[in-house]
């Protein structure tokens, strides 16, 4: 996964959270400030914001089932060129391929599966570990591959 191990990050945060979305939102706010300081704005900033929100809420609600004894480990790294995010929960993991597409006509009006889809569309790269309890994502700033969706 880009960037190389030598990539110079201007800001890093490693934090262990309880299964509480309030703590997660405080961490996301810190990430937003760091991205802003590194020159991120508009669509780039929004995409990272969305992916990390969905990833953390999935980890807390679906991974840890809001169990107060379980934790979520997060790792954020920011530079002018890229943003790296890793989210690990203590749940049993989930199988990406078992998730039904939220784009199927019969699922369009069902409230499921959109978070994972948005992560995949808004990030340059994203992958789960084998167990399915760790999400690693990378977003390049001004990534030309992430063209604006047509109306």
């Amino acid at each position: 996964m880009f960037p190389s191990p030598e990539h110079k990050w201007s800001w890093k945060l490693s934090q262990r959270l309880t299964s509480d979305t309030d703590d997660a939102h405080k961490a996301i706010e810190r990430l937003e400030f760091a991205l802003h300081d590194a020159g991120w704005e508009g669509r780039d900033l929004f995409h990272v914001r969305m992916a990390v929100e969905e990833g953390l809420v999935n980890a807390i609600e679906h991974g840890n089932k809001r169990d107060p004894l379980k934790h979520v480990d997060l790792e954020f790294r920011v530079s002018r060129e890229a943003c790296f995010i890793r989210i690990t929960d203590e749940g049993p993991g989930f199988c990406r391929s078992s998730l039904k597409s939220c784009l199927d006509d019969e699922c369009l009006d069902k409230p499921r599966g959109r978070g994972v889809w948005l992560i995949e569309q808004f990030m340059s790269e994203s992958a789960y570990n084998e167990r399915g309890n760790q999400l690693t994502m990378l977003r390049k700033r001004n990534d030309p591959q992430l063209a604006i969706a047509e109306d």
Binding site: E53, D109, W117, L118, I148, E150
Partner: protein, 119 residues
């Protein structure tokens, strides 16, 4: 009329124009409350011609989208009409990417939407 904390409702003729109190719709308790308030517009207040005006909304998560989908089905069941307007470009892109722009009638401005209700 049920009390609303997460939304403000103003009538424009037969159309109930709904605006959102929060700039960022992410907090899970607020999203639950928002969902209840939106549904109560149809189920308690018997309003079924609704325009959701997203002016000022900077961010919303998929959990908030789910509440809009729930409202959509309530309005449909009541044989009402629902439109959305004033979505900032990034939020509009979320609707496009998830194909929810096929489920919701999205208009640029409040005026466009009010005119479209007259058709």
């Amino acid at each position: 009329m049920s009390t609303k904390r997460r939304i403000v409702v103003v009538d424009d003729g037969p159309v109930s124009v709904v605006r959102f109190v929060d700039k960022k719709i992410v907090d899970s308790a607020s999203i639950e409350q928002l969902g209840e308030e939106l549904n109560s517009l149809v189920l308690v207040d018997n309003r079924n011609v609704l325009l959701l005006n997203f002016e000022g909304v900077e961010f919303m998560s998929s959990a908030a989208l789910n509440k809009l989908i729930s409202l959509h089905s309530k309005v449909k069941a009541a044989e009402g009409r629902l439109k959305l307007c004033n979505l900032r470009a990034e939020i509009k892109e979320v609707f496009t990417i998830t194909r929810l722009d096929r489920v919701f009638d999205i208009r640029k401005t409040e005026l466009d939407a009010i005119e479209a209700f007259k058709l």
